[in-house]
């Protein structure tokens, strides 16, 4: 560990200690002081748009190919960019000959470290309120190579074909230095404790080692998960231009405001000189933040004095957009004769670079999942010279639940207890790590209803069901993902005299159905029809710093609109004055209804928005506000859960695994739109099937090179891999979350790996602890 690492770790540890003290104070404060302490009135609103299976309002655009994506904005005089990537993991550029490239037809610029403009490094994602960068490395500022695949040259030409060709004419030689590219070597070099969003990835409760040693029943095994890539079908792309010292970016982004601020830091300009829009994103899953390509495109545009389009090749996405890192996890569980956990140990190591801060936090599920008398949780970091790893759908939980929920299944098998029963025997009554009360936790209900629908009771002993060549088995696992709401939200409501409203917030649509669900919510909140509400998003000039990540966007938008509505109502009551049926009422007393405001418990006291504005001679009323900081996350333990049921068929001849049935039974609070939420759940499960059965970024440990940068060789599930997936939910509102809803974007991928592995065990009697479960492991 270097001095720099020590200093960073020490600083972070201090911040963590301060944070811990704050957390304690927040936990002890009365409920009523908390956001969500008084339930969102919309929770009790039963017959509105919320909860209806409304079809996507942007559906017609998407099915007709008319939704504009980042690489589909044509700009006058635009040049196309292509990139050349390093072929060594570490060292220096020894020589670089760009002369042939410069002479190639159509080429207007070859940018390398020799001529790139001076730029600061990107603020590293989640190290600041608006930081969006995937790494904090110099971008073409020197001759140093930090990973195999680092961009070393960018070519601009009149067409993409010309740019691609010219790139192939650049000759580079390298002076290689010794690199750490194997996980084993990195671990041998020593590990450091992981810090996740300034919190140490370490929990201790009692003496877990001693309790394990004494336990009547125990399992103790190591589980491994490989690197993964998000691989959204839309390639990362941006169309950029400078207008004087103002930068305009058409991006594919799940963080427009973050990206605008971060680009401003890179180019040393004001945040409001950068305008980032991203109306449609062709899938993100954590990958569509700020990576070097947007910076390089903007730098090249500046040098060339032309607008620039950059669209990474599929190889380029793998070379310069990080993915989920490799993990090695030990799970040990000790239980008493009744199956009650006496010891829960979940510890292990992940690979990370020195240029990012994402120690895949696989222990998060264990923190709040089970009551155990003692607990020891740790994530250690080993440094590898590679592309910076990053957040990918349910970071931590997706792979953490594979290990934890497999181990629980192993214990259930060892003890001869039904795995659902074993889990329910260990249901905690408060958060096992923090002691905080749960805001809402209905794991048992999710299991009970899921088991009934799935037909769990007909399950057989391992290896007991066969249909021709196919062995059949079923498995189960718990899905879990926390409720998050990040600070920085803000929204603006513009109400016009015709009674229509526009909601403005710098949020994102990358398939979640944001505009649809939020239009439903806003319509109910304001008492309007859906076609009276316009939801504008995907633009950094709108209010709010709202990340489409951590399944938090719905809550962040919800809380922001609640805050803005409060300001709006206050203003409207003032405008209504003493001649209104609303006279004398306070903000808390009224709500939106039938195109106006009404007293909550006396709807006859009502005045329409049109009437209020017309009497006040106003065309519009504009209200903008930010919600209070998300203290509810600390005061309560807020988590979504799911019971994942899987049936697999394993070919006894070839070892091929096919998932024949899958059911997810979720407890995620209130479901705002059953149609789009079901797609989120299913989508997560499909990605989970990929994680379970086929996905692996092949990282050559000799060279640090990703060897399958292609959708032909990086396998994601195809139609034929995916059976009909049933999803259901408790629909029990979380009283402390806006709209009673917790996020639904990530939980679907969690628990799937274990549900599949546990089903494979039930089918074959073989326990696979290394993902993906490919056929060679079952022969």
């Amino acid at each position: 560990m270097s001095i720099r690492d020590h200093a960073r770790t020490a600083k972070q540890a201090m911040q963590a200690a301060t944070q811990a003290a704050m957390t304690k104070a927040i936990q002890l404060a009365p409920d009523s002081w908390m956001p969500g302490g008084r339930p969102d009135p919309l929770i009790f609103h039963k017959h509105g748009h919320v909860g209806q299976p409304v079809s996507r309002i942007d559906g017609p655009l998407k099915v007709s190919g008319a939704a504009p994506f980042a690489a589909e904005i044509p700009l006058e005089g635009m040049a196309y960019a292509a990139l050349l990537f390093s072929t060594i993991p570490k060292g220096r550029i020894a020589s670089m000959d760009v002369s042939d490239a410069l002479l190639a037809p159509g080429v207007s610029l070859v940018m390398t470290h020799r001529n790139a403009p001076r730029m600061a490094t990107m603020p590293l994602f989640l190290t600041g309120a608006k930081a969006a960068g995937g790494d904090d490395l110099p971008i073409m500022q020197d001759d140093r190579i930090h990973w195999n695949g680092q961009p070393v040259a960018l070519v601009l030409a009149d067409t993409q074909e010309q740019a691609d060709h010219a790139t192939s004419l650049i000759r580079v030689t390298y002076q290689a230095e010794e690199a750490v590219t194997s996980f084993a070597a990195a671990k041998d070099n020593g590990t450091v404790p992981g810090l996740f969003m300034n919190q140490p990835l370490q929990s201790r409760n009692g003496d877990a080692d001693a309790a394990l040693a004494e336990a009547a029943h125990k399992v103790d095994a190591v589980y491994r998960t490989p690197r993964h890539n998000h691989n959204p079908i839309e390639l990362h792309a941006a169309t950029v231009m400078w207008q004087g010292d103002r930068l305009r970016v058409h991006d594919a982004s799940q963080a427009v405001a973050h990206t605008a601020w971060s680009l401003a830091q890179v180019f040393g300009i004001d945040e409001d000189q950068v305008h980032v829009t991203s109306p449609f994103v062709g899938g993100g899953f954590g990958s569509k933040t700020l990576w070097q390509h947007q910076v390089l495109a903007a730098a090249a545009s500046k040098l060339a004095g032309r607008p620039v389009r950059i669209m990474l090749s599929r190889e380029g996405v793998h070379r310069m957009v990080g993915g989920r890192t490799v993990t090695e996890q030990r799970v040990a569980i000790g239980a008493d004769a009744d199956g009650r956990f006496q010891s829960l140990i979940h510890s292990g190591t992940i690979a990370m670079t020195r240029h990012n801060m994402m120690p895949e936090p696989f222990i998060l599920p264990a923190r709040s999942g089970y009551a155990s008398r003692t607990m020891k949780l740790d994530v250690e970091v080993a440094y590898v010279d590679m592309i910076a790893n990053t957040f990918m759908r349910a970071p931590g939980e997706a792979v953490g639940t594979f290990a934890l929920e497999s181990a629980i299944d192993e214990l259930a098998v060892a003890m001869g207890i039904d795995p659902i029963e074993l889990r329910l025997r260990n249901e905690p009554d408060k958060d096992p790590s923090t002691g905080a009360p749960f805001s809402a936790r209905h794991v048992e209900e999710a299991y009970r209803s899921g088991a009934e629908r799935f037909g769990w009771s007909s399950r057989g002993a391992p290896g007991s069901r066969k249909d021709g060549e196919w062995l059949i088995g079923t498995g189960v696992a718990t899905a879990t993902y926390p409720y998050y709401r990040m600070p920085g939200g803000a929204a603006r409501i513009t109400l016009s005299k015709d009674g229509a409203a526009t909601i403005d917030i710098a949020a994102h649509e990358m398939g979640m159905g944001t505009s649809t669900a939020q239009t439903q919510v806003a319509a109910d909140r304001l008492g309007l029809a859906m076609d009276q509400v316009t939801f504008r998003y995907g633009d950094s000039s709108l209010p709010g710093v709202v990340l489409a990540g951590g399944s938090q966007q719905t809550a962040a938008i919800g809380a922001s609109v609640i805050a803005a509505q409060r300001v709006l109502v206050k203003e409207l009551l003032k405008l209504a004055g003493n001649d209104s049926p609303l006279a004398g009422l306070k903000v808390e007393d009224v709500g939106g209804r039938d195109g106006g405001l009404a007293k909550l418990d006396d709807p006859d006291r009502f005045e329409s928005y049109a009437s209020i504005l017309s009497r006040a001679r106003r065309d519009t009323v504009v209200a903008e506000a930010s919600p209070p900081p998300p203290l509810e996350m600390l005061h309560w333990s807020m988590h979504s859960h799911g019971a994942m049921f899987c049936e697999v068929r394993v070919n006894a001849v070839t070892g091929e695994v096919r998932v024949s049935r899958f059911l997810g039974s979720f407890d995620c609070g209130r479901i705002l739109n059953p149609k789009t939420a079901a797609s989120q759940f299913r989508g997560g499960i499909v990605m989970g099937l990929g994680l379970a059965l086929m996905e692996e970024t092949q990282f050559d440990e000799r060279s640090g090179r990703i060897m399958n940068p292609s959708l032909a060789e990086y396998h994601v599930p195809v139609h034929m891999d995916v059976p009909d997936i049933e999803v259901m939910w408790t629909d029990i509102p979380d009283p402390h979350a806006p709209m009673g809803a917790r996020g639904v974007g990530e939980i679907g991928i969690t628990g799937v790996g274990a549900a599949v592995a546990n089903a494979v065990f039930n089918a074959t009697g073989k326990r696979v602890r290394d993902l993906p479960i490919t056929l060679d492991k079952l022969l």
């Binding site: 007709s64 959204p232 899938g283 398939g511 990605m687 292609s710 139609h719």
Partner: protein
């Protein structure tokens, strides 16, 4: 070179390196056809050429001289959505919408193939009769179209409903 795109004759001069996909997206202002890999591995660029589905990223534009190309922009009839497009909305057969044009064009070509009796890898009988579009048949025949959002169930439902007469 001359070709017909969405029913309209088009005359263009192209570098032979230009793929049919880039001709559509970058030269003819038809970005509805998507680039997802440019390697023939995802299906997002699927278009119909004389009614047959192909991957426009693997075809050089010059190879399609004189052919009739239909893209997602050309599917609407009389200004209203093709019934398969509507079914995709009804069944939520997409999330981000990026693979969607390819899925839709592919499904139209696929249904015609099954109707004329082209078997698939999962067709038990190679007799050449029209193949009923069971869920399994649709899934196998559509496997060249990846959807990373995982909207497969909705896509299959939309296709099955639209081509119900082929399902039987």
């Amino acid at each position: 070179m001359d070709l017909v795109i969405n029913g309209k004759p088009v005359s263009v001069d192209v570098d032979p390196r230009v793929s049919l996909l880039d001709l559509l997206r970058e030269r003819l202002d038809l970005p509805g056809t998507k680039k997802g890999c440019n390697q023939g591995a995802c299906g997002a660029c699927t278009v119909l050429v004389d009614g047959e589905r192909i991957l426009s990223c693997l075809g050089l534009a010059v190879q399609y001289e004189g052919r009739s190309v239909t893209t997602v922009e050309g599917l609407a009839e009389d200004g209203s959505l093709h019934r398969l497009q509507q079914a995709f909305i009804d069944h939520d057969g997409f999330q981000c919408g990026y693979c969607t044009p390819g899925q839709i064009c592919s499904a139209i070509g696929m249904a015609a193939e099954a109707r004329r009796g082209l078997p698939s890898f999962v067709t038990a009988d190679l007799d050449g009769d029209p193949v009923p579009l069971s869920g399994e048949e649709v899934r196998e025949r559509m496997s060249g179209n990846l959807c990373r959002c995982g909207a497969y169930n909705g896509i299959v439902a939309a296709i099955t409903e639209t081509f119900a007469e082929d399902v039987r």
